[in-house]
Every structure is written in C-alpha cells, then in structure tokens.
C-alpha cells in the first residue's frame, strides 16, 4: 500500500465527481466515499509512524538530483489526519449548505474541493522542499476557483487579492529561498537537524528565514495576511475547511517543516531573534482587527490570522516543548475554527445573517449551532475543556523553559483579546432579546457536522494522547 | 589617398551598404524601401566578389602557362546570394502589389493611418 494512494484517492474522487455531475446524489456519495477512504488510509499509516517508521515513496526525478518524494513523518501524519478527517465532516456539511443555499456549479465545487484536499495531503506528505513547493502552489491554484465560486465582482476582487498575494509571495520569496538552499546545501531534503547548519552564516540564515516565512504566504504572517479575509467571499464550507484548516495549516505546517528540518532547532537559535516579534505583532494586531470587525466571517478570518501566528511563535521559541505545542495547535485550532465557520455558515443558511450585530437572541432559535460555537470560542481563547487549552499549555511551558517573556506577554494579551471578541457574540446570542422572525436550525447534515466537530474539540482536550504522541516524536 | 586607392572596392561596398540602409529607413514608400533593400544586398555581392579576383588571375582551370588563378568560390556563393536576393525582391514586390490592392496605397503613413482607423472602429 503506497503513500501515493493518499494523493490518488482524492484525485480519482475528483475525476469521478466531475464525471457524475448530472447525478447529485451519486456525486456527493463519491465525495463522501473518497473522504472516508483517504481518512482510513491515513489512520492505517498511524501505527507504523508511531513505531518510528517513515514510509517513503519516490514519484520520479524532476531535475537531476531533485526527486519528487513522499515521506510520512509525525507532523505530516498529524496534518494528513486532520485534513482528511475534517474533509469527511465538511463533505457532510457541504451537502446541506450547497443545497440549502441553491449554489451553482456544485460539481465544480466538489471536484475542486477534492483536488484541494489532495494537494493539501501532498504538502503534508512532501518528502523534500521541492515536492512541498509543488503541492503548495497546486493548492493555491486549485482553491482559486473555489474562492471565486460566485463569479461576481466581489469574487473577482477577492480572487485577485488571493492569487496575487499567495502566488506573488511564493514566486518572489519562496522560490529564491529554495534556490538559495539548493545552491548552498546541495539538497532540498528534509533531514532531522536541518541541512543548512554550517553552510550559511548567521545573518544569511536570518535573511533566508525571512524569505521562507514571508514566502509561505499561507502562514498569513503580517503583512502577507490580506488574502485570508479576501478569501472569505467563498462559500462557507470552503472558508471552513480550506481557509481554517487545509490551506492555512499547509502554510504553518510548511513553516514548521522548514524550521525543524531545514534549519534545525539547534542552528535556528542563532538567527531567529526577529521572528517572535513579527509573530507576536501579527497575533496582537490581527486580534485587534477581529475585535473591530462586525462581519462574522471576517472576524473569524482575522482570528485565524492571529491563531496561525501562535504556531509560528511557538516554532520560533525553538524548544521541543513549544514545537510539540505548535503541532498540537495545528490540530486544536483546526477542529475549533472549523466548528466556528460551520456555525457561521449554518447561521447564514438558516437566518441569512452575516453581521455580528444581527445575532441578538439567535441562540434560542439555533441552540445546537450556538452551543457548538461556544465550544469553538472556548478553544480559541484557550480555556478548558477545549483542545486549545492543551496546545496553549505546551506553548506557554516552552516559552517559560526558554525564558521567552515576549511570547508569554503576547499570549496573555491575545487571550484577553480573544475573549473580548468571542464572548460578546455568545452574550448577544443567548441573553439579548431576539429580533428576527421565525426560523429554526439549519439543515440536519450541517448541524450534525458542526456538533461533531465541537465534540471533537472537547474530546481532544480529554484524549490528547495521539496528537501528543505524534507531536512528541518530532525531533 | 593610398587608403582609398588600394581598397576602393571596399569603399564602394560601404557606400552602397550605408546608402541602402538609408533608403530603407528614411523612405515611406514601400517600393522605395524594397529598392533600398536591393542596394544593401548588392553591396554584399561586391564585398564577396572583389577580394576573390586577383589582378592578372584567370579562371581556375589548370593549364600550361597560367600560374595565377582567381578564387572561384565567392562567385559561386554570390550566385546563390543573388538568387536569394531576387527571390526576396520578387516576394517583396508581390506583397506590395497585394498591399496596394488591399489599401489602395503604398505609402507607409497612409496604410498605418487606415489600420488605426480600423482599430478605432472595432472599439
């Protein structure tokens, strides 16, 4: 059973979906089946990876000495599990959303969705930087039709920002970073301990790091974060799975990979002094913007920008504890934020509301949705019993261990800010007098999906063993 | 004087070359441009052939009493080049005829003005 199957299944799924465009039920069954199969495959690989094995598949040689390689290591497996698992949930959710809102071009939507997940898995499994770059760019391109799904002027503008920032940053910064790495290190493989140690000087490494973290625009480090709010013109399932999970996590995942396997934690210590500042600034500034946004999806988007920088900050602390925290946070934020987006989509479908100020009393008409939203919000703030608490705990421990007072301060301030922009929503929803006319919950498949992810958020608090084991085996 | 005298064929070549280029660039009449091109090409013929001729040399046929031969190769080459030049001129004239049929003019300015007018109409 080859690793390549992880990419082939979504691709084949997309082809079948495109072929069955005229029969919606078959099409959506295929979508669910390929999601389930991909997730099952990722689960099957788990024991192997936990035993310390690293399954590897060479797809071909792209350039002399530069192969396209897939290699499964703990971090990649974690990402693959999250992406494929949540794909299944959001496939269920999409059925309700797309039918409920009578969206057009549903076949294209499902096909691109499957391909996007395939590309995200490609990023997760990439065995060297070239492979990662290939799938990273593929992910940008294949999500573009999803972002511009509505085809109107808003979509066109959003799509333009999206493509210009993501492709632009990767062409301008990431590609030269790769070329410089290749030129200096003679390889683009991911190796424990890094490949750059001893080959570039401290300030060169510092500059190279800048090329990497800003080149990986999907990590949404300020000032390359504008594409994420722009991408919110997409249908909500896209925002939920791709712009809270697959795409953005591909970004921070790539940053983590570069820090751990290209620079190496030991070597990175000399040259990373500026990174916590940029990450910290992004965390705080994005939280402030979120606080001031009335549009629900925009608020969630800026919350994502801020939460992504937690991962970058944790990586920049450079202790094993904080790196484990970073890996955990990828998982914790994924389940939490997808719940929040699912809830936002459910509110839009049932009540056609998009602004926070319109949500007075909605919790009484949509109790399940808003309860799930509450769980997601707790996770974002980092309170028990939600997954966000566990990852934050590790990051804070790592920061204490390394004596990173800046990181501690940033985390404290942002926790307050997070509470400041999530709790008022819940207060409005449950305690203010309602103003809207009669509507109930969104379609059942949507509610089921968002309750499931909320439950997952809580479960990950109590049963953090598996992600923890994976995160811990990172070296 | 000796510089000019000894190498006069080169000087003629250069004059033809520059003159041809000048006509080609400065004239707006498509036909005259072609003539400029022909003059330019003729300069090349001279450039090749002149050095091949030795004063007192004969055709390169080995025979008693002849020791000095001219180099025949440039002549052969230029025969080819003349053919190419004739073909180019013929093609150029043919195109000019078609241009005249299509635009009713062979003045570059007028033709370009008509194209611009067409473009404006299309918009």
């Amino acid at each position: 059973m080859s690793l390549a199957a992880c990419l082939i299944i979504p691709a084949a799924g997309a082809a079948l979906i495109a072929a069955c465009g005229r029969r919606p039920n078959v099409r959506e069954a295929i979508s669910l089946a390929s999601a389930a199969a991909t997730f099952a495959l990722a689960v099957l690989f788990t024991p192997e990876v936990l035993r310390g094995e690293r399954p590897r598949a060479v797809l071909g040689e792209m350039l002399p000495g530069l192969e396209l390689v897939l290699e499964l290591e703990p971090l990649g497996l974690l990402f693959a599990l999250i992406a494929s698992g949540l794909w299944f949930v959001s496939a269920v959710y999409s059925i309700g959303y797309m039918r409920g809102n009578r969206e057009e071009n549903q076949t294209r939507f499902y096909a691109c969705f499957a391909l996007a997940i395939g590309s995200a898995l490609g990023v997760a499994l990439a065995g060297n930087l070239l492979t990662l770059y290939l799938f990273y760019e593929a992910l940008t391109l294949i999500t573009w039709p999803l972002v511009t799904h509505h085809g109107d002027d808003d979509a066109r503008r959003g799509g333009r920002t999206y493509l210009a920032l993501l492709l632009g940053s990767s062409i301008l910064f990431l590609l030269p970073a790769l070329a410089i790495t290749w030129w200096q290190a003679g390889t683009l493989d991911f190796r424990p301990g890094g490949i750059l140690a001893g080959r570039v000087s401290g300030w060169e490494a510092s500059g190279l790091l800048a090329l990497y973290v800003f080149g990986i625009g999907k990590a949404a480090l300020m000032p390359i974060h504008r594409w994420l709010p722009a991408a919110m013109v997409a249908p909500t399932p896209v925002s939920a799975l791709l712009h809270a999970v697959a795409v953005v996590k591909a970004g921070v995942f790539a940053v983590l990979k570069v820090v751990i396997y290209v620079f190496g934690l030991e070597f990175a210590r000399e040259s990373f002094a500026w990174l916590p500042w940029v990450a910290g600034l992004t965390i705080v500034a994005a939280s402030v913007v979120a606080l001031r946004s009335d549009n629900l999806k925009r608020r969630l988007a800026y919350s994502t920008v801020s939460q992504l920088s937690y991962v970058v900050l944790a990586a920049a602390i450079l202790t094993p504890l904080s790196v484990a925290g970073a890996a955990l946070h990828i998982a914790a934020h994924a389940v939490g934020k997808i719940t929040l987006f699912f809830a936002a989509g459910a509110i839009y479908t049932a009540a056609h509301k998009t602004e926070v100020s319109e949500l007075d009393g909605i919790g009484r008409r949509m109790p399940w949705t808003l309860a799930a939203f509450g769980v997601g919000a707790l996770s974002m703030i980092g309170l028990p019993p939600a997954a966000g608490f566990v990852s934050k705990w590790f990051i804070v421990s790592g920061a204490l261990e390394a004596g990173q007072w800046l990181a501690l301060g940033v985390i404290t301030v942002s926790t307050l800010l997070n509470a400041g922009y999530f709790l008022p929503i819940l207060y409005r929803a449950f305690f203010k007098a309602s103003q809207g006319a009669g509507h109930g919950e969104a379609p059942a498949t949507m509610v089921a999906a968002l309750v499931a992810t909320a439950a997952l958020t809580v479960l990950m608090f109590f049963f953090a063993d598996l992600p923890l084991a994976l995160a811990r085996s990172l070296r | 004087m000796s510089v000019v005298g000894a190498n006069y064929s080169y000087w003629i070549t250069i004059v033809l070359m520059v003159g041809g280029m000048y006509i080609l660039i400065a004239r707006g009449n498509l036909l005259k441009k072609l003539l400029g091109l022909a003059v330019l090409q003729s300069s090349v013929y001279l450039l090749y052939i002149a050095p091949g001729k030795l004063i007192g040399g004969t055709a390169p046929i080995i025979a008693e009493g002849y020791a000095v031969y001219s180099n025949p190769l440039p002549h052969v080459l230029i025969l080819t080049a003349i053919v190419v030049g004739v073909a180019t001129l013929a093609l150029g004239l043919a195109i000019v005829v078609r241009i005249r049929e299509a635009y009713g003019s062979i003045e570059e300015e007028e033709i370009l003005a008509r194209d611009r007018a067409d473009d404006d109409e299309a918009r």
């Binding site: 290939l134 210009a164 492709l167 070329a179 410089i180 | 090749y48 150029g92 194209d115």
Partner: protein, 493 residues
Amino acid sequence: MLEHLAALIVVVPLVAAPLIVLVRSRRFAWIATTAASYLSLLFSVQLFWRVATLGPVSYAIGSWAPPWGIEYRVDALSSFVLVAVSLTASFVAPYAQRSIAREVARDRQYLMYAMYCLCLSGLLGIAITGDAFNLFVFLEISSLASYVLVALGPRRQSLMAAYQYMLMGTVGATFYVIGVGLLYLMTGTLNLADMAQRLPGVPDVRPVLVALAFITVGIGLKLALFPLHQWLPNAYAYAPSMATAFLAATATKVSVYVLLRFYFGVFDPARLFEHLPTREVFVALSLAAMVAASLVAVFEQDVKRLFAYSSVAQIGYITLGIGVDNQASLTGSIVHLLNHGVTKGAIFLLLGGVALRAGAAAVRLETLAGLGRRMPLTALGLALAGLSLVGVPGTAGFITKWYLVVGALERGWWWVVAAILASSLIALAYVWRVLEAAYLRPPAASAARGEAPAPMLAAGMAMTALCVYFGFETSFSAGGAADAAALLLRGLR
C-alpha cells in the same frame, strides 16, 4: 539509409514542397505535409539517440570532404534543436488541415502547406549544417517561407506585418552574410569548425570584431532580441493560427541556436565573454525584454498580441542565460528553447481554435469571456500553458526558471534573480487577465458554444500535456540541454 539520415531530414520536407505545388490538391498537400513532419520527427529522434550514444555525426554532402565540401554536423546541441523543431511540427501538421481550411482562401491553401514544408526544411537545415554560407541559405529559405505564411493571414494587416517582417528579416540575414563574408576573408573557410580553428591564427582582430558585431545584430533581428523585436508582435498577431503556432515555437528558437553556435563554436568564448562587454550587453537587453515586453503584454487587449509580447519577454529568458554564461544558466537557455516552444505552441494552437469558433480573425479579451463554460478543455489548456509562462512548478516553465535562478545565484548576481522573479510576477498579471476573462466573465449571448474541431483541439491539448510532462519528466529536456550546455562550455571548437 541510416547513414543518410542527416541529409534526409532536410531533403524530405524540401521535396514535399514542390510536390505539393505540382499536385495542387488540398488533401494531398495535407498528407504530404503531415508525412514530412512525422518523418522529420522520426529522423531527428534517431539522430538524437545516435549522438547521445555514439557521439557527433558528420555527413559530407555529395561526398565532398569537409572543409571543402558542405558538412552536416549533428552534436548534442543541434540534435536537441532538431527534436524541438520537429516535435512542434508533428503537432502543427495534424492541426493545419482544419485551421487552414477556415482561414485561407481555397485556391491558396496548397501554398500554405508548401510554404510550411519549406520553412520546416529551412529550420532543420539551419540546425544541422556545419557550413556558414549554407546556414545563410537555409536561414533565407525558412525566412522567405515564413514571410509568405504571415502574408497569407486572414486580415489585410497580415500583408503589412509580413512586409515589415520581411524588411527586418532580410536586413538581419544580410548583416549575417556580411559578417560571414568578413570571417571568410580573414580565414579562407566557411566550415564552422574549420573557421574556429583558423580564427586564433588571424593576425588582425578588427575585421573579426566587425564580423562579430554584424552577426550579433543580424541574428539578433531574427531572434527578436530586444529592442530588435518590432516585427514580431504584428507578425504573430496577424498570421494564420497554424503559422503563428509554428513560427512562435520554432523560428526564433532556431535563430538562438545560430547565435549559440557562433558564440561558442566559432568565436573564442573565453575572449568573447572576458574581454568584450558581451555579458553586460546580453544581461541588460534580456532584463529589459523580460520586464518591458511583459509590461506591454499586461496592457494589451488583443490576445494574440499579448502572447506575442510575452514571447519577446520569454526570449529574454533565453538570452539571459547566454549572458550569465555558466552551466546552469546555459542549460536554462537551451531547455527553454524547447519549453517555451511547447508552451507558446500550445497557446497559439488553442487560440486558433478559439478564433475559429468565434468566427473572428482577432481574438480579443472579450472574445474569451465565458470560455471556461463554452470551451472548457480549451480554457483549461490555456490556463495550464499560461501557468507554464509564469513558471509555476509542475510546468515546463518552472524548469527553465529554476536553472536560470540557480545560474544567476552561482554568479552572485542577486539583482538578476530579482529581475527574473519580477518578470514572472508580471507574467502572472497578464496570464491572470486571460484567466479572469475566461473564467469570471459571463459569455456574450451570441457567443458560440462547443470546442474546436477534434483534430485541432487534440493537437492543442497534446501540446499542453507536453508542457506539463516536461515539468515533471526532464531527463530528455533538461538532460539533453545540460549535455548541450556542457558541450558549449567545453568549446565546440
């Protein structure tokens, strides 16, 4: 038979042309053209394989031993170019029938095929000959044929475009032949290899330098080296679709080959690059082309002209590699001869289909509106080939860019790296405009639905597939180019 391959590859299309004119049947013309194209592909692949396994092939025309007779010489570089040209031809030929039937008047169609065969023969001849004057003859055969191809275009602007192309092209060829004449006067030989051996013994350097200048400008005109590119946008925009695709993919590339052959195989590259400002000139002109021509493309409304300007910019990539002058960058240059040929070939083939369906000679951005729904495969092909122009990984364009960036890094020229990337961004901007028109603008009510005729669509999509294929499997493209680059740097002499 096998030992005559080197001659046959030129002779077959050369004989096909007069046959087509004599028979004057459209059907026969197309069959003969296709057969000649595929035979030349077969021959060139065989030659490539022979050169790769057994080393360079030398063939004495008429059994006159070189350097007195004309020598055909195939080495790693020329066999690579031969394959690149005949590969394009093998896609254009099957495409030609339907395209020509729509765009050219019935009584002139056979001429189109004949000219195409002559052009193919000339281009192959340029790549294979080892004789400077014979090269001129082939250069003019291919050029004269391509002027006619352009002039047969569907609009009256085609005539003016062909006229200007002819004027500049002939000046280029004349300059080339002046340069060769001077070299002949100084060395007494026309055989390129022999010339290279005799040049160091020439006491007077000045005529050689003048020859260098004439050849550089002459070939620069032919390959549309910025700022000698003015003929190109109109010629590509107004030529019949199949001619645009063929010329864009091959003609300028073969001229680049001539430049490489003279720079590395005749003149002394060490002196050329160390004592003359060759690097500076090429790098400066290439960067100007990459940035300026791309910017013009961004503001162009006519899609064929847009991609024509993009060609000028992409030729800048090729000449940049010559200016940077090391193994990686030359590999980038040479592999781009193939990669850009395939990419632009695909784009113009697909645009031909769009023009045919739109029933208009001009393809403007509005014409593309809603293409994603009306002609989904064509739109997908344009998108993929467009991404190859940008240099997205997984496409042929990425391979080129990678080599060029690495080459510039090895020289320590950071600003060149920055310029390459900036030009990719501008390329993204013009490709974006095409994609946006195709996918995000609603189709006009009157716009026809349905793909282009099957053979045209198949040829376009196959070439698109090739441009993805060469993005992943590079053992032929980058491998062959690397061998050729190594040969150049070792000295062809």
